[in-house]
Symmetry: C2
Subunit: 237 residues, 2 copies
């Protein structure tokens, strides 16, 4: 197969497909709200920014459109997704459908190392929350979602994990659009309690807390008409 073992290792670094790099950079920017919902994403612009041709940018944007983070309109281009209230409800309904199961699996699978990771993550969330400033707020949003992803990774099913990635990313968008309390208010305390219940292997409690947590998140939303949103977005910048 290969002629030198070293070459193979060298490839591993290069393997980082350029389209994936771009798609992840965009996803980060969208989730952290640096790119607001509805914003136009021009192929050539992104291309020159990352120094690649539109071909690559195109595949990155398609990937994001599969994840529901970007909407592609024929002959008009790509835009950061702007979930409708109905879509938003469905996203949270989907989370209610999936996350209790993930929590239960996590309880079954969690090793001591996993629990340590969870605790470390909670601390991380805490730090982000205590700090001020825009960048700290972004860290907080990101960390809050990462908690759920960490749980999914502990549950140990790659397919479910990928599904949760999508749901979390889209949740961030929804919260950006419809969240009321200035803080992302992702209820850090809820997370602490959930980890405690998991550590105690108390499945019933952990599941109940998980459901409660999702209700909590959705309760902070205000599904205004999307025209209002347009304005809000325009005026806030």
């Amino acid at each position: 197969m290969e002629t030198t073992a070293i070459k193979t290792r060298g490839n591993a670094a290069k393997e980082a497909e350029r389209a994936v790099v771009i798609s992840e950079a965009l996803q980060d920017a969208i989730v952290e709200r640096r790119l607001p919902p509805g914003m136009k994403l021009v192929e050539a612009e992104i291309g020159s920014l990352f120094d690649v041709s539109r071909t690559i940018v195109r595949t990155a944007l398609q990937e994001l459109s599969f994840l529901g983070l970007v909407r592609i309109e024929r002959n008009r281009g790509a835009f950061v997704a702007k979930p409708s209230p109905e879509e938003a409800r469905q996203i949270f309904d989907a989370r209610r459908l999936v996350e209790p199961g993930i929590t239960m699996d996590a309880i079954k699978q969690a090793s001591n190392d996993d629990l340590a990771h969870l605790r470390k993550h909670l601390q991380h969330e805490n730090e982000a929350m205590s700090q001020r400033g825009l960048s700290a707020r972004r860290m907080e949003i990101r960390a809050s979602g990462d908690f759920h992803l960490l749980l999914a990774s502990i549950a140990g099913n790659l397919i479910v994990q990928r599904f949760m990635s999508e749901l979390i990313a889209r949740s961030c968008l929804v919260i950006a659009l419809y969240g009321q309390s200035g803080a992302s208010s992702c209820g850090h305390d809820d997370h602490v309690e959930i980890v405690d219940a998991i550590a105690a292997r108390d499945a019933a409690r952990a599941v109940a807390l998980t459901q409660h947590h999702i209700d909590h998140l959705e309760a902070d939303l205000n599904y205004r008409s999307s025209d209002d949103i347009e304005l809000r977005q325009a005026l806030s910048l």
Copy 2:
């Protein structure tokens, strides 16, 4: 194409993006096992078949790779996915995680029309099962998966529905690879019982039957080493 005002109306039909048409054609072929797991999919070949450039074929193949139906290897090309035993297990675990919730939502949402659709679908499955021949077998595979998709569509959450589409399609691949009983044996009787339970609004029973059904499906699998599979594929054609 068309030149006049009629064109505009025609567009709605034309809107069917060419990449999507191709990707759906391929998905059908994969799910119905006309394209066996592991088969190489050459871009130029597909392109000339549908009379489009490789560009379009490429996006279709990427779409399928996001769905897990196609594996793309850098510089080597696209192949019909060949799920490992571990992947197969995760697919069914994911179904166990999601489908009970779908069944419950379906019970909540199902109108009389929906129930009629379900009954009609059962009849359709029955017909496919009673017929002989390769094409009938394909119909059976397809119909058997469609039952679960129909249930998901009744549950009424587009996001969950999309997720189920992926799981069902991948399940078909897994069954093609590891199924033992010549018949796709998707337990048509199970489906009948599930519909009965839904019609009776008996949530506990419907959920139990759903879980049982998935266990049933997976019990018919034999996770051989993938080398054996290679042989089986080679000899069966």
